[in-house]
Symmetry: C2
Subunit: 326 residues, 2 copies
């Protein structure tokens, strides 16, 4: 594997200038069809592949987009990554994956890394510590579009790809009361998260509407949820339970085993197939969210480089349908 052929090599081989080669490769109108073909043939012959680093330096771009997530767990995010990777690749982008570990400083450092590597766009699910987005707000102005997904903030100035958290939770809990549950447990994640607040709001609304009481349990991680649920279930006997995420659903699997309790959750679809109890769930597809978010980002990137209009931030709401299992 000798040194990689450069644009210069093919220029030399054809005895033309590098600028002609550069233009020829991308079908610049200044270059004749014949010349273009000649160049491309020779490029193939020499097994030429453009050096994105060099091009990136000149064009201040990199063909790389970044995905920043709180933490890589087995829940939800793998699907997102998969979706993002897919559309990134289809569009010639590569994917840089960064974790914020739910820490603001970490998130800021990640943004800096993105700048250092001249990523062309950023996909981010905010850490549960970020209430203020000063570290992000100027990014679009310097040519780096940002799109939020899943974990966003109120009145996001950026595009966001989410589900209608409040409505989904509302529907879920409404479903529980319609089934006749009188003693409902609402299991929620980290309280700082907007999605938690929204889902809680939806749940409460359904409860108020039906005039039933409920117990609320908060747990911000799988382990804490496992403990909290085991504890809760040892002294309570709910006949209905709402689980706002896959992580909580997984944590409930064993504690809920053998209990006679209706369960409704929000899930990416896999955990319900593994878990220990029958349930209904609203299908919150990480894969689709990843694809939508990445598509939107790629679109923004194109817009900004093609000099298109700067359309206002868009809120993309994924439709969530109910599934039941067992």
């Amino acid at each position: 594997m000798q040194k990689r052929a450069t644009i210069k090599d093919i220029a030399k081989a054809l005895d033309i200038s590098v600028s002609t080669v550069s233009r020829g490769l991308r079908d610049h109108p200044d270059i004749s069809k014949d010349m273009c073909q000649l160049i491309k043939d020779k490029a193939k012959e020499l097994n030429y592949h453009p050096n994105h680093i060099a091009a990136g330096l000149r064009k201040r771009s990199s063909k790389i987009i970044a995905l920043i997530i709180p933490e890589i767990s087995m829940f939800f995010f793998p699907s997102v990554i998969k979706g993002v990777e897919e559309v990134a690749r289809e569009n010639g982008y590569q994917l840089l994956v960064l974790q914020s570990n739910d820490d603001l400083e970490h998130e800021k450092r990640n943004i800096q890394m993105c700048l250092d590597h001249s990523v062309e766009g950023i996909l981010i699910s905010l850490s549960n510590k970020t209430s203020n987005i000063d570290h992000l707000i100027n990014l679009p102005a310097s040519g780096i579009p940002v799109v939020f997904f899943d974990k966003s903030i109120e009145n996001s100035p950026f595009d966001e790809v989410v589900i209608d958290d409040e409505d989904v939770a509302f529907q879920a809990v409404k479903n529980l009361v319609h089934e006749g549950c009188k003693n409902i447990a609402i299991i929620l994640g980290n309280e700082n998260l907007l999605i938690t607040k929204r889902r809680e709001r939806g749940a409460r609304l359904a409860l108020v509407n039906a005039n039933v009481e409920a117990t609320f349990v908060y747990a911000e991680s799988f382990n804490k949820a496992q403990i909290a649920l085991a504890d809760y279930l040892s002294s309570h006997h709910p006949d209905g339970m709402f689980l706002m995420s896959d992580e909580l659903m997984a944590a409930a699997s064993q504690p809920l085993s053998g209990k006679d309790c209706l369960v409704v959750g929000i899930s990416d679809g896999m955990i319900p197939e593994i878990v220990n109890f029958p349930l209904k769930y609203f299908y919150h597809s990480g894969f689709e969210i990843g694809k939508l978010a990445a598509s939107k980002l790629v679109h923004r990137i194109l817009m900004s480089t093609e000099g298109g209009q700067n359309t206002p931030a868009e809120r993309i709401i994924l439709d969530v349908k109910m599934h039941s299992l067992h």
Copy 2:
């Protein structure tokens, strides 16, 4: 957010040359301590951050390493990514994540992408289609170290981070027969995979040693495994089962529900907490594997740039301990 400060800006501000700045920033011996400090202070003041792209062009490096995996699922790989990301970041590297989708052509294209982006090293878990590694073999010669993890090949010419598949499977099945199981089911993944062959070999050895018969079931995905297991269990009543991976374990959760069957598996640790039956498992930590593999890769990168010796490929075997649950 005005334009980012460059080395040139700080040179101008201090009225010195860019080369001095460049050297000062990295404590080159040619530059006096005082000057270095001056430069660094000004750098901080101007909020200077090096442009990796430019440096990469010059040094033909990128501070990026690639992780190529067959597919991003919720099983095993998230832990690996997490481990890799962690040590990558600690060492100033960023992580490019690529999927081969268990397709050789795809894998080749990924390698090409890596070249295009001048990644400094590649971490790869081979697709189940790659028996031949011609597309990888020349990479180290062109300065890009490669380390295999999990899915490798016989007599790997590269470093590899694995577990002792045969022994672990042997221990697992031995455990089953020691518990008195007479009717054992061995559930395995894709047959092309070396890890499958090795684990199968270990299992068979334990069976032969104990002189017990067993049924072997192969399934290469979660869904196929679910079906195969449901099917198998509808007509058979094993008293012991070996599951070679988390994916299979998860797939067994519901089919195995209520059955009285001893289970031993190999797992990253999470699925056993969710699953529907008591079991023992050998803890195959994706996180540790990711960290070890990344450390080894970073070390190789350092070696090759610092001009160190090219030590022979190493086989790093992660120690696996048994855990039991429920």
